[in-house]
Amino acid sequence: MKRMLRGIALLAIASVVVLVSAETMARLDDAVRMGTPFLASPEYNDLIMHDSLGIRGRPLAQYQKWRLNSAGFRGSEISRVPQPRCIRVAVIGASETFGYYESPGKEYPAQLADSLREKGCYEVVNAAIAGMSLPAAIQLWDNWVSRFRPDIVVLYLPPAFYLSEDPPHFAEPTHEGASPVPSRFALRLMDRLHDRIEYPDFIQRKRVAKSISREIAGKSDDWFFRTLPADRLALFRTHLDSLVTSIRATGAVPVLATHAMRFSDPPKASDADLLRSWRKFSPRATEDVLLAFERAAAVSTRELAQERGLPLADVAGLMTGQTQWFADFTHFDDGGAGVAASVMARVIERLVVPRTAGGRAVVTGYGQSPAADYR
């Protein structure tokens, strides 16, 4: 009996040791690989803050592989003013641009920087924030990114936010200073476990169905978008146009990029589960409307580029329906990010005309006379 109790006690202590050791190692591992402070308990949302300038990246924030510089942009430090004789490219977008599934340094702005570096002196600023809608992007540009004087601004913004309950709106600036990172203690081991768990398809299907059911419970029939909501599409276009106007007003050249998704027309049967999962984020829209809205937004973006004589990176034209380049519905994998970067790089290269060897470069719009001389 005594021996058995001793055995049970030892087993219990050993189990505690396993957990304590695992939590300690998870923190050490994060510290060694990513420089995360040992005692911190960061979350993804810590990367974002809300202050008098609106919503933007929190300077020097980091969570897992994501690390922001002192300006709150993903990537290495940048100066306020571009380096002499260099072209600065800012990329504005949401999580697809910020980088989600890609390995560090493989998000498309980083790969764009790698591509452009071979062509000359370019600085690429990843000014994206996960979950950024067009109104938030306008605020971010007006209040923050424009201060860094980019010469070219690539806009890759997801239209699906326009299918949420309410259309995207401008955030109220807060005058109470930056929202602080809440003090908390969370087990990093649980974080890792959560990231690693992959539910079997049938369980995942049930989880998605449950989540959507919860969102749509009690909604009347006219709440749903069963056909493409023209007013929302028009709003998307209006906001995009406003952003373009705002960028042009500073002398920078906007590059419009159409937003790509993995789903072909019609979607493949193998993508059915993923399409249903996507709907979790916009339960108001049916799956058909989600797809139709994405396609219509791409057409609208192309038309806007045409009408306003803007350079267009038709990422959707090349990548939509190419499942191999996506890690989920719209986020790229490393390879897909490389393809998106190469599409954008080609457009940017055509915009920049080196005037003299070692002299000033000129950034032009499509079919326009040189828009600006730079340094």
């Binding site: 030892l10 396993v18 304590v20 998870a26």
Partner: protein, 464 residues
Amino acid sequence: MLFNSFVFLLAFLPVTYVVFWSLRTAKARYVWLTITGYVFYGYWDPRFCLLMAFSTLVSFTAGLGFLRWTDPRRRRLLLVVPITVDLLILGFFKYANFVFASLGKVLNWAGAAVETPHWNIILPVGISFYTFHTITYIVDSYRGVIKPTRNLFEFSAYVSLFSQLVAGPIVRFRQIEEDMEKLGEADRTRWLNLGISYFLLGLLEKVVVADTLAFFVDRELAHYHLLSTGGAWLAMLGYSFQLYFDFAGYSDMAIGLGYMFGLRIPINFNSPYKALDPSDFWRRWHISLSSCLRDYVYIPLGGNRRGEWNAYRNLLLTMLIGGLWHGANWTFVIWGGYHGVLLALYRRFSATWDKVPRGIRQVAMFLLALFGWVLFRSTSFEMAAQLFATMFAPTKGIGIEGSVGYIAAVIVAAGWAMVGPNAQEMHTDWRPAPRRILALAAAAGASLAVMLGSGSSPFLYFQF
């Protein structure tokens, strides 16, 4: 399937273990080990199971022939034919494109504009290892060192033993023959503690030490041409320890698994970075390969029996073959040649070298091994030359990103590898004392945390 994957740890190993020990006869256990070996192997690509089965059958049949015939001519035929078949298979899958490419380069250099073919061949995982297993079986049967088995499943269980199937150690049949014969009477609990401790230590070496170093090393060497002198040295230091802990970790896990199933697999690493000279290094590094090269290449070539110069030649030839065994690339061949030269030089100047203080010899030998790893890690001579140039000529460039954590990891790894005890030194006097159980629980927890964070990375030696 990887030892450090959840599918192995949570599904394959428990099922294999429980079923194995619930079977009572040796024959049933052979069959079960064969089945699990093929499942383990087929998890990567089931097509290549046929190749392993063919190689097994050829060698087994040769073994039966050795039992039947005593006539030297027939026995020689039984030696040559299956080894030729094995080597042809290995040659096709591993070296065909290498031969074509090398031939093409020579012909082009000679002025002939010949385009050599490049076949789209997938290299079967672990082919070099199981080919070595079968060849050593045939040679030992021919020499009369072992009595070939008449039991097909005993032999196929030996060849497809999942613990040592894809990355060694290269276990010769004679080394586990006794345990295989007595597999039906094996005691489950006899070596269980030892097996678990070896396995968990190996997991710690691989997952916590090697994979942490790999995180930095792989990233930095991906742009080796941009590295600074300090960055190149740090990257190669890290790689030296990564390679050791990766392979030693795998070997220790394999040994541990062997013990769990009643099989004593010989050690494969004995703190090689504590070596004091090249000869000592090869007695400690990948012991199962170096002893095979000694017994099946160096000694048949004449060893050191016919004078000093022949001994040098034999050392060089043996190590060139050893280098080529590692991979179809001239960098591996030159790496082997480099070690051959080191061994020959040591043989010539050992009296002088052995007078040097011990600490200096250990550091010098480590640095010599590190220079070899530059060749070993490089995918081309251009890369090796660039790395050597950066290491020895002060070069401005990029350092290691996140270097504080990386340097800390290198220091820990260096301390363990060069001063600390290795797995077999730790396991002596292993008893399930509470202190040891808790230490192993801590090792398991630490490994689990890293596995959850970064997933399962393949072992470096899988590529060979």
